[in-house]
Amino acid sequence: MSSPAAVTSRAATTGQRTGGWRAWATNNPKIRMFQTLVRREIWEHRSLWMAPLAVTALLLICALLTHGALKIDATDSSEWLDPRNKTIVFALAQWALTIPHYLVMILLLNFYLLDCLYAERKDRSILFWKSLPVTDGATVASKIFVSCVVLPLGTFALALVTDVLFTAIWNLRAAIGHAPELIVWDTVAFLKTQAVMFLGLVISMLWYAPFFGVFLLASAGLRRNVLMWVTVVPLLAAIGERIAFGTHWISSLIDYRWDGIWGSMRIETALLASIKNVGPAEVVSIPEVYDRVHVATAFTNIDLWLGILFAAACAYAAARIRRYRDET
């Protein structure tokens, strides 16, 4: 092992030529290893980037081809186009356009977590991975990093870019009279809507961490039928509990981990208070949600941190299983 000083000085000399932290990163064996592990995940699970890009492509095609003849709850185009409603409509469009991305992200995230430690056992490549000087902890950490940091942040960034591009294309078409002037740019509304999405994303990732931990553990531990175990078994356990004991601890727990955080943030009150009428339709004004919601209460919720602790324990257990499991 070279000493840290040697690494730094080597990095400093190459840094002059190739510049910055990039050179430092490639000269630091640990960082280089982690980068390589992350690249491995992206090579192996190509859907992680191909599916989001496909969603963007589809949305942009929609921006080029649709007519924007909206008719929701008997509200017709004239009311959507009313200049007094432009901020609400713009924010609503920004929000609605991100939904496909987040739905795809949820699918990718869950299937990735269920598959990431199972696939290498199934195709027996685990013995190749274990022949390399990479610890089980680093392997599991790289998978958590890809699924719980790279994927959500990448999705957020791509959804944001898609929003901007969609709006730009739409307005170009509107300028030449091909589309109604439905989406009128409003920087404050844009920033507030994106902030709502970002905070929602961060809080979701933290609050749902126990699910992710269980999925990762299932991926590391189960011999087969990973998906079935994490879906059917909790369901049967909840039903069984109700029949056998007449109680509903399991379903209550799952329910709580499903939406407890939003209750504690009083998101419903914020949403209800932000409802505006566009014609006869009731629409949530997202920038107002941003003004009303109490983000800090999410982070002072002890259950959020307990859940993260539980998820960390699951990740630790997954690494231990990978280390000591003897398949044959």
């Binding site: 280089r32 390589t36 690249r39 090579w43 192996e44 013995l127 190749f128 390399l132 280390r323 000591y324």
Partner: protein, 297 residues
């Protein structure tokens, strides 16, 4: 000089949970010195793979084991910097491209010589853009070997490395192993049940059967200790009086193998001379010796 591998009293059983446990290793002890090429030879199910897994920290076991001075159970992560292995053919993941495989090993292994791996691959028909799943079985093995042989490891462990390869590839592989990888600082441990093929490769052999070491010797040691006598049937009784531990008939002649540990026949030349008077003598091949040892057991 310190040993590369030092094993004392290794034990391992499978299926303890189901009640009837099958011992895979029973009190296995051996040591491997640096710069040797050791053949770990045994029939299927003899415990070879279990022994290798113990050495590589892939399975739990009882007993004492040091590999490069480290206990593979607790210090596997450190050990893997100096040990490389191929556990079985075709364990490279199908989605991996050849170029990605090089990138990957280079990214995680400080002792990987990428230029050398590329040089190996240039001698084959493998293209950088290909995915592992598109390659033939022989090519996958060539790729895996190109990766592993380009790592500057102190110990290389190969479990049935040429299984499923045709003769041409097998020959190329062993040539590469000897010419490009092996040197005085490196140690190679190979398991195989195709003994004939690799006879000339080994400096040491370790026979293992039913979880026990039945022979542990250097190849020179074998020549000193074992004698194979081919004798006409009329002299067979006379030869049998000298207590061969194994005999069989081949084309109407009797082939016997004698074990002469140092304490049994002190004068080194006498037994050989005595046997030579009866028929043709030579050192048994490793394959013949293996068959003899396994059949006696």
């Amino acid at each position: 000089m310190t040993k590369v591998i030092e094993a004392r009293g290794l034990r391992k059983s499978y299926g303890r949970r189901t009640g009837h446990s099958t011992p895979a290793l029973e009190d296995v002890s051996f040591s491997v010195a640096p710069g040797r090429i050791v053949g770990l030879i045994g029939p299927n199910g003899a415990g070879k793979t279990t022994a290798l897994k113990a050495i590589l920290g892939l399975t739990s076991f009882e007993g004492e084991l040091r590999v490069l001075g480290l206990d593979p159970r607790s210090r596997r992560d450190e050990l893997m910097r100096d040990v490389s292995f191929i556990a079985d053919v075709a364990v490279l993941p199908g989605w991996l491209r050849v170029g990605q495989a090089l990138e990957l090993v280079a990214g995680v292994h400080t002792r990987f010589n990428r230029a050398r791996a590329e040089q190996f691959l240039r001698r084959t028909d493998i293209r950088m853009r290909s995915r592992v799943r598109e390659l033939s079985k022989g090519m996958v093995t060539q790729l895996h070997l190109a990766l592993i042989l380009s790592i500057d490891a102190q110990l290389l462990v190969l479990d049935e490395p040429t299984l499923g390869l045709d003769l041409l590839y097998r020959r190329q592989f062993y040539d590469a192993l000897l010419n490009d990888f092996f040197n005085a600082e490196r140690t190679i441990l190979v398991t195989t049940h195709q003994v004939e093929e690799v006879e000339n490769l080994f400096t040491d052999v370790l026979f293992i059967n039913h979880g026990r070491v039945v022979l542990d010797s250097s190849v020179e040691g074998l020549a000193e200790r074992y004698v194979q006598l081919t004798v006409a049937p009329d002299k067979a009784a006379q030869a049998r009086a000298l207590q061969p531990f194994y005999e069989r008939e081949v084309f109407g002649r009797v082939v016997m193998i004698f074990d002469r540990p140092a304490d049994r026949w002190q004068a080194p030349l006498r037994p050989a001379a005595e046997l030579a008077a009866l028929g043709e003598i030579r050192t048994p091949s490793i394959a013949d010796l293996f068959v003899a040892k396994m059949e006696v057991a």
